[in-house]
């Protein structure tokens, strides 16, 4: 269906407006808000993953680890050191960026499938360390009692507050990704994805640019993690599994283009819809597995249809 372009570009803003006033209209507040909050978290994760996977074309299968690191950095600093949420936020951001850079180092040497396995491996190693370094992380029992953010002495633990907080974080992530998409780095990443040799001889420092992509992607996932820790007030290594990395990847594929509406759509299909049909329980993995296979097979533009830029929008605006 061909929609008039003015409607299409404005659609995004109308949906956003609708989203922002949605809490007013919800019935079963607590549960509905929870579902929406999770949706926003996944949108944040798909947006951040898109930078590495969609734009740079690097197979990153360990994204959940970036999320988890952010959660643990923030959670531990709040519980053990007594820092406030707002203080731990930038620390989680930077900490996740650092870990993301480490995870991205192999991309300088290997590509394709191998890189997928390596990033998966790093993701698993991170989870194993989180599980076994009991003295710091409390191990498989998890870390309880993570406080909610407070403002001027008031502990803001209401769901509504969390809803708007995560919306802000997700929008911030989307915004940053948009800016990077349409920037020098975005252009260079596209070049890398398209043809590394060609990018090199045009002066693109492939290694450095790739690492930036990994770092930034991880940093924003870390923000999401910090939020997650405070929201659930409890985290454990089992919250950040390989299947979660894969879930986010699938949301990106289903959503199609790495834009806001697409991410939300993908997150809804793969995250929220199963949530709404929670009675499916473990069958979710079955459906999810089948869906992944089917999607990859039937995606007409291939997996890398993720960031096809239309040729008549000069995206790098001066």
């Amino acid at each position: 269906m061909q929609w008039p372009s003015s409607l299409k570009s404005n659609l995004q803003w109308w949906l956003l407006l609708g989203w922002l006033i949605l809490p007013v209209f919800l019935h079963n507040w607590s549960y509905s808000l929870h579902v929406l909050i999770m949706l926003a978290v996944w949108v944040l994760l798909t947006q951040s993953l898109n930078l590495v996977l969609g734009l740079a074309g690097q197979l990153q299968l360990g994204h959940a680890a970036n999320f988890g690191i952010g959660a643990y950095i923030s959670g531990l600093l709040m519980v053990d050191v007594g820092l406030s949420f707002w203080t731990t936020l930038p620390i989680a951001f930077l900490g996740a960026a650092l870990v993301g850079t480490l995870i991205g180092l192999p991309s300088l040497r290997v590509g394709g499938d191998y890189l997928g396995i390596v990033t998966l491996g790093f993701g698993e190693i991170t989870r194993i360390f989180l599980t076994n370094w009991v003295s710091i992380t409390r191990g498989p029992m998890g870390l309880p009692g993570i406080p909610a953010p407070s403002v001027a002495g008031f502990n803001l633990s209401s769901k509504v507050f969390f809803f708007y907080l995560v919306t802000a974080l997700a929008l911030f992530t989307w915004f940053a990704m948009q800016r990077i998409n349409n920037s020098k780095m975005g252009l260079q990443l596209l070049a890398i994805r398209n043809d590394e040799h060609c990018a090199q001889v045009l002066g693109v420092n492939i290694g450095a640019v790739k690492l930036w992509a990994f770092a930034i992607s991880a940093a924003f996932a870390g923000l999401g993690g910090a939020f997650y820790a405070s929201y659930f007030s409890f985290i454990s290594p089992d919250s950040f599994l390989f299947v979660d990395s894969l879930a986010v990847l699938c949301m990106l594929i289903v959503g199609g283009r790495g834009n806001l509406v697409g991410s939300a759509f993908g997150a809804f299909i793969l995250g929220v819809a199963p949530e709404l049909f929670r009675f499916l329980g473990d069958y979710r993995m079955l459906i999810f597995g089948v869906l992944l296979t089917v999607m990859v097979i039937y995606r007409p533009s291939g997996i890398w249809g993720l960031d096809k830029r239309k040729y008549n929008t000069i995206s790098i605006k001066a």
């Binding site: 191998y114 194993i128 076994n132 894969l246 597995g289």
Partner: protein
Amino acid sequence: MIYQQLLNGLVLGVGYALTALGFSMIFGVLRVVNFAHGNVYMVGAFAGLTAAQYCGNNFYVSILAGTVVGALLGLVLERLVFRPVRHMEPFAGLLTSTGALFALGIIGMLIWGASPKPYDVNLPDMVWEFEHFSIYYMQVFMMVAALLAMLVLWWIVSKTHVGIAMRATSHSTTISQLMGIDVNGVTKFTLAVSSALAGLAGVLISAYYGIISFSVGFNAGIKAFTAAVIGGIGSISGSVVGGILLGLAEGLASGYISSSYRDAIAFAILILVLLVRPTGLFGKTTTQKM
């Protein structure tokens, strides 16, 4: 004490090698990572157990059943998971087989239940005692089985028509097709044989440890991948050497460092090899023409 550790590590490694053989073959011939391999192992093991239960817990029946079911499952995977994406980016196969991994895992859980089960087959319980260590019948059986599997595979690849076709396909599917090679047939054969090996490995290792659960697949797949990569993916002898090295490393590390980090050690070895020598010990280095 160390001799026993080494022996146990060796046997563990042989198990990895057996699982890695099929996996490596798929990558070598079809240039695709079959993530579902681990759960073929799992399904084969369960199939073996179920078949044995109908035949008085006969061990050899379970071996037969596991191998056959494995092969059949491999054919199913070929048709549903790999053939449709043959023309796409290489990691499309990785993703679809990952989807199959999850689907198989839950199917396994639905059929055989979520809780771990004892692997009840009648194993001869002979033991040979030596001064510093003892060897069990199963350990010998596994090593012999792995050796046989390796020899059979080697014979197939180097001495038969199919083997030549496989080697040609691994170089280039396009050229092979032009030369009249039935690439579809080669793909089916490769997947059937590899999956049969996975099923066999599943039965043997589950019988050895005496326990099976639907969740073993993922780990088995990762270990297979690690072993294959260490030894050089696509190389038969490489898988065996890689598997044994991995088993020994894990065995020693659990013994002397800590067993909870065992999986992390496997991953660390994997990443190290991929970074330092991606082609593995026996793999061929190919220089890319720009």
